[in-house]
Symmetry: C2
Subunit: 225 residues, 2 copies
Amino acid sequence: MSKTTVRNRSPRGLDRGDILNAAFELFVGEGESGFSVRKVGARMGIDPMTVLHHFGSKEELIRKIADRSLAEMTLPESSGDWRADLLRVAEAYRDLARRYPRLFHLHFRYNATGPADHHSSEVVYRALLETGLPTAEAAGLGLAFYAFVLGFALAETEGLLRPVNDVQAQELEALDIEAYPGTRALIPAFRTLDSDAAFHTAVGAFIDGIETRCKTLGSQHKLLT
Amino acid sequence: MSKTTVRNRSPRGLDRGDILNAAFELFVGEGESGFSVRKVGARMGIDPMTVLHHFGSKEELIRKIADRSLAEMTLPESSGDWRADLLRVAEAYRDLARRYPRLFHLHFRYNATGPADHHSSEVVYRALLETGLPTAEAAGLGLAFYAFVLGFALAETEGLLRPVNDVQAQELEALDIEAYPGTRALIPAFRTLDSDAAFHTAVGAFIDGIETRCKTLGSQHKLLT
DNA sequence: CATTTATCTCCTACACCGTAGAACGTCAAG
DNA sequence: CTTGACGTTCTACGGTGTAGGAGATAAATG
């Protein structure tokens, strides 16, 4: 019955987990462009090919790195208050993005292929089912909520929600006031932008919109019965 | 006055735009991982270093590629109906993502550093100002809307909104029904997922939520005066 | 015990990458 | 014509992922 023998301790005391840790740290520290299998090997004092032997390819190693960071996320359980649950999931992802900004874009690349982190998505789906929406809408809105949260978090790590500095403000001031009145009017707001406030307002708006949708469908349902 | 002499026709009839076109096609066809300066040179029958001479570095060439795809986007003008305007901007980005799926993630990377495509963001900002929200909220919600739209579009290109196939469905069926009742209940909905519907429902919900926010602030304002 | 077998680790080698630096050719201006 | 700026190419360097094979080591089997 020992077709696949997996050693828990390798000859040189190397553990897959140790290599993954080193790779994780390198990725977190240097970003994807500065990440290489050879550097991981160098950090561990082992041959690069040993790294690849344990993970198959660079691609799969990076996937494991992404999984590892997801595992560090502390997710709330469903509480029965679906609005609060959605907000907490969003906050959890945002926290993760802020903790590992150079890593976060991976969750778009890999989570996408199939819901890997079932735990957090379960919270989202359960919350949406609690609203009483039909399953088709709950599924679509659940995934869209996911995409929204990931999008906001990624945009934030990429700097989109940082207050604009003097140089950027002057660039915006240079825009034609006839063609860009809205942008011009908002320049002071961009300078003092509060990303926390933007996050909570936006997530709150989305949640409010879901609630509105429930009421709309609810009243339609009433009319039909 | 001819301090900087820029030839409109180079010795071999090469145009910066032609190189950019070739690079663009290569990127669209092969994706970022299959993209290289050397391949661009090969496609044009020129030395790779000539490519770099015109664009400075691979990084900047990719930035130009991203700009180029943005330029192809057809954006609506502000119509006075802010809800319709927001929806149209969202649709425009979603279209762009579907047209160039291997390219779209670049907009997260580069647009983020500063609102490059002022035209589309102007439509968004003007729409939000029309709602009567205070400028601080309009700015935050505008950027969040942007992030949401980019996030949805990127998630869609990465496959997050595709209907799950038999294999994926079986993976989900294997989840513990006690721990994952929500996910399990939605499996049929995931199999027949309609990404168009999800998009419109989600964007609609966000817009509804913004409207709710307006009313809330409006009534508060009434109370104070 | 000895022997086989599976696994781990390392080495070498290959094809590819971005790009610095210098050389060369070509064109417009003086 | 001379001069100088610019476009193009060549060469070379240090880096990359990883295929293939050779040893080393431990466990399974006789």
